[in-house]
């Protein structure tokens, strides 16, 4: 500030700083209002996680449901699984969700392979991706025969 600072300039300064304060309060209020509106809306957009009531175990089929050298899709929680009865009478269970773009795969009895119809991906019976676009193997589940029931378990992480 210089020496010839006048009273009029002083009051002008005071006015502009008052105006500035009002602008900050009003603008801050508007922004606070918008945030308080948008925050709940943003949270509302996020769908709650689906409760997977399927657990880690499911009865995939009964003895005799499958012919040797065939497969069927079963429900494992909210996702499909693939149960295969090999020609030698052993069972195999894998995730039926193709690791490429999520189509549901099927068992090809003519090839004795798992095949995805969407982009012609194939997996062997151990779930390894052997040709086509799939980037990863399919998850393999444990299978137990308990009396008449064929029970599929998710493998424990280990």
């Amino acid at each position: 500030m210089c020496a010839n600072h006048t009273v009029a300039e002083d009051s002008l300064d005071e006015q502009t700083s008052r105006r500035r304060a009002i602008e900050i309060f009003l603008g801050g209020g508007v922004i606070a209002t918008l945030v308080s509106f948008l925050y709940p809306v943003f949270r509302y957009f996020i769908p709650p996680a689906v409760v997977d009531l399927g657990g880690d175990q499911v009865v995939a089929a009964k003895q005799g449901d499958l012919k040797p050298n065939s497969g069927k899709i079963f429900r494992f929680g909210s996702r499909p699984g693939l149960l295969i009865l090999n020609a030698d009478g052993t069972y195999r269970a894998l995730s039926a969700t193709c690791t490429h773009l999520g189509c549901t795969v099927q068992y090809r009895s003519d090839l004795r392979e798992i095949w995805c119809a969407c982009h012609n991906g194939t997996y062997d019976l151990n779930g390894r991706n052997i040709s086509g676009p799939p980037p990863r193997p399919l998850d393999v589940f444990e299978v137990h025969v308990r009396g008449e029931e064929i029970v599929v378990n998710r493998k424990r992480e280990g």
Partner: protein, 369 residues
């Protein structure tokens, strides 16, 4: 930054020309100016309804087997779902309330008179449609109260001679209130009514914009007698900012109501249980409901129900036509006594009667067993 964006747009779209009429618009300033706010508040609440309604559509599923569960899901599982639904329900009720306040203020201030007859008629149509929103939306959670309210409401429509029954079947999507009714009401509520109401609001606002704000006859008389008392404020920003404050109050009210009194969901509708005791419609239908209850079952040779419905319909029609019955008795010379003579006109008395009747019957309906 904002200024340069506005300039950029203005260069290309000539927005100045669009905004110019708004900047010339003025609002008369007098002791009754605050009544002008209620139309704007109603409009604001309608916008709240549209926005929260769209949000509810993200999770709501129409259908007798899913509707209740999906609303339950919104209320309990979705983050802030209870808030969105409660605001939608409270805002609906507040909107109908402010629409009624707006209507009666227009009636008392005689703002419906020439040249504003059509503004009044479009406003009345909007009020009926808003009540239709309330009626159709009430069923959507598919709870017991809503189920029976819809049963009774559509049954009343069915009592009208000749055309009643086809209307009832059209509304219900069959003989009974079922999932088919729910699907229909959902369609009315989210597609048919919003479309019609949006167009009507545009027309209503266009009329208001064309004709400017009405000055109540009392104030007009005073201003004519003493022209220096005439005062106006600019619509933008003076009135608009005041209106904005009113909207803030409305938002605050909504927030408090929704947070402290979240809207109840009730019990899932079951068509094969008895109606619970003390069942009543929403408050804005209560005055008609109570009227119907008071009429004896037979009046002379006419069914009481039919008489009540015809009576309500005729009264409603008369009310819509109100501006066309009014004769402007005030000449060019307005004296102090002209004011009292205006108040004593028939329509003035009628407005007082209508308000007293609606309020009285609503309170009676609340208290009645």
């Amino acid at each position: 930054m904002i200024a340069s964006v506005v300039r950029w747009l203005d260069d290309r779209l000539h927005l100045e020309g669009l905004i110019a009429p708004l900047s010339h618009k003025t609002v008369p300033t007098h002791r009754l100016t605050y009544w002008y706010f209620f139309g704007g508040i109603t409009l604001f609440l309608f916008v709240v309804q549209v926005l929260t309604g769209i949000l509810l559509l993200l999770y709501y599923r129409p259908g007798a087997n899913e509707a209740f569960e999906s609303v339950q899901y919104i209320m309990t599982r979705v983050q802030f779902g209870w808030l969105i639904r409660s605001i939608h329900s409270w805002s609906a009720n507040l909107m109908i309330f402010t629409a009624f306040v707006h209507m009666f203020s227009v009636a008392f201030l005689k703002a419906y008179r020439k040249p504003r007859e059509l503004t009044w008629v479009t406003g009345m149509l909007l009020l009926f449609l808003v009540m239709g929103f309330g009626f159709s939306g009430y069923l959507l959670p598919w709870n017991t109260l809503a189920f029976f309210a819809t049963k009774v409401g559509t049954e009343i429509a069915g009592q009208v001679p000749i055309i009643g029954r086809p209307i009832m079947i059209f509304l219900r999507g069959g003989e009974e209130v079922t999932g088919a009714t729910l699907t229909r009401f959902f369609g009315f509520h989210v597609a048919v009514l919003p479309g019609i109401v949006t167009v009507l609001i545009a027309i209503h606002l266009f009329f208001v914009q064309r004709q400017g704000m009405s000055v109540p006859p009392q104030v007009d008389a005073e201003w004519t007698a003493n022209p220096s008392a005439r005062k106006e404020m600019k619509f933008f920003p003076n009135f608009a900012l005041r209106e904005l404050m009113a909207w803030y109050v409305a938002v605050g009210t909504l927030g408090v109501l929704a947070a402290l009194f979240p809207w109840e969901l009730g019990v899932k509708a079951d068509p094969f249980i008895s109606a619970p005791a003390g069942i009543k419609p929403e408050w804005y239908f209560l005055f008609m409901f109570q009227t119907l209850k008071l009429i004896p079952s037979k009046v002379w040779f006419i069914d009481g129900e039919v008489l009540g419905i015809l009576g309500c319909t005729l009264a409603g029609l008369f009310w819509v036509m109100l501006p066309f019955f009014e004769k402007d008795k005030t000449g060019l010379i307005v004296t102090a006594s002209a004011r009292s003579s205006q108040i004593r006109t028939l329509t003035g008395g009628l407005s007082v009667f209508a308000l007293a009747y609606v309020v009285g019957m609503t309170i009676y309906g609340f208290l009645a067993k």
